[in-house]
């Protein structure tokens, strides 16, 4: 169980830091954080695990995505040019 979680986690973390698309990186970050909370449950730290999901998985990636949406210009510009024709 621990090995499965840690394998998913490491793959998720690697994909987070290497993926080209920012939103996909956020998605993989979510996977990583949720699997870490699984490891906390294996370590009998249920409260930390749930707080991890609540705060880390619930709020932090949403904040990050919010930042991505607000600072990403590319998609919007592309769609504007495609529309102007």
């Amino acid at each position: 169980m621990f090995l499965v979680f840690s394998a998913v986690e490491i793959v998720g973390a690697i994909l987070t830091v290497t993926s080209k698309k920012l939103v996909r990186a956020a998605f993989w970050l979510l996977i990583t954080l949720i699997t870490i909370s699984g490891i906390y449950i294996l370590l009998r730290a249920e409260f930390v695990a749930l707080i991890q999901i609540l705060v880390y998985a619930g709020a932090v990636p949403v904040l990050l995505l919010f930042g991505i949406m607000l600072t990403r210009k590319k998609m919007l510009e592309e769609s504007e040019t495609s529309e102007a024709k």
Partner: protein, 359 residues
């Protein structure tokens, strides 16, 4: 955040018809707006030139499908002035009654659409329920419900049945009770006030300069109602007063329409009381020559018909001035600086009808 254009339309729940509003948004704030029309152009003005005077009424009925009698009435007035005829007194009263019933039905349609726009779908169902009653009245008068084809050059098509006054009174008594309920749901609701007050400001000067007319102009505080300033038919013999609000925002425009519905009820009842017996229609001449202007107060503003004829039995040229076409030009100015959600409030409050815009 980058600015980008969003197409609202031609297929969008906000549009109430086939047109396109492009808005340029910066996040949620509207930077610019640009109405694009022409999807529903049918060439009414051109088709009118090959039809006889009476037959054009069918087309003018379809200019605005929620307010058909007011449009054919405006056309008939213009043609009657062109021919130089004066219609019988009872015909005038019948016209006023039908116009006001149509006005209430049209305003109820606005109420329904406005409610649906700002997220109150229950209002849509309620207003359409009451609109059915007025369409029933129109059906009693004209035999048809939507494109009623009631007004004719020289009067109206037929007289009303004997018990029409009683059914009108019953419907209006029922409706006035319901109208109080609607005011509770709309005007007295805090959420509604949050959505409409201070949104879509259009000052009196701007409204006049852009050519905005009708309830939208009266919502900006200008005392312009063609029923009173250039009285046609028998509006000068009936006692009523126009609804004017000074707030210039969506809330004022909606209040104006709600009060106009009450006034229209008063007009209908008063006209039914004062209606004299006698003929309701006269035979107009087939041919005419010259040109005539006639402006009337449509449910949405000033509907103007210019009809020119060269002695033939059909018009040489018909020109239509539709009120919402002019109002639409003022829309970008009303929208700038507001949020995306205010688009629907503003567009709902000016009561758009694409049929008459594109003609």
């Amino acid at each position: 955040m980058a600015e980008f254009w969003v197409n609202m339309g031609p297929q969008h729940p906000m549009t109430h018809g086939l047109w396109n509003l492009r808005i340029k948004v910066d996040g949620e704030t509207i930077v610019d707006a640009e109405p694009i029309i022409g999807y529903l152009h049918r060439g009414v003005e051109k088709i009118s030139e090959v039809r006889e005077f009476q037959k054009v009424i069918v087309l003018t009925d379809r200019l605005c499908y929620v307010s058909s009698i007011t449009w054919s009435h405006a056309y008939c007035l213009a043609v009657e002035e062109l021919m130089g005829i004066e219609i019988p007194e009872r015909g005038k009263y019948l016209r006023v009654i039908s116009l006001e019933i149509q006005r209430i039905a049209s305003h109820l349609m606005w109420l329904a659409a406005f409610g649906a726009d700002i997220g109150l779908l229950t209002m849509l169902l309620y207003a359409l329920r009451e609109r059915e009653l007025f369409l029933d009245l129109i059906e009693i008068m004209a035999g048809l419900r939507l494109n009623s084809n009631y007004t004719r050059v020289g009067g109206v098509r037929n007289d009303v049945p004997a018990d029409f006054e009683k059914s009108c009174q019953r419907v209006i008594a029922h409706f006035l009770k319901k109208l109080d309920e609607y005011e509770d749901m709309m005007e007295n609701s805090k959420t509604f006030l949050m959505r409409t007050q201070g949104i879509g400001k259009l000052s009196k000067e701007d409204a006049i300069n852009w050519g905005v007319t009708g309830p939208n102009l009266r919502g900006s505080g200008a005392d312009v109602d063609l029923r009173r300033t250039i009285p046609y038919e028998v509006y000068d013999q009936i006692d009523w007063e126009p609804a004017i609000e000074k707030d210039c925002d969506c809330y004022a425009r909606s209040i104006v329409r709600m009060r106009e519905m009450r006034e229209s009820c008063k007009i209908v009842l008063d006209a039914l009381k004062k209606m004299p017996p006698g003929p309701y229609r006269m035979k107009p001449p087939r041919r005419a020559e010259g040109e005539a202007f006639r402006a009337t107060e449509d449910s949405r503003g000033e509907a103007l018909f210019y009809v020119a004829a060269d002695g033939d039995d059909r018009p040489y040229r018909v020109k239509i001035r539709s009120p919402i076409f002019c109002t639409l030009a003022a829309v970008p100015q009303m929208m700038r600086g507001h949020k995306v959600a205010d688009v629907v409030s503003i567009m709902g409050s000016i009561d758009i009808c694409v049929g008459e815009i594109d003609k």
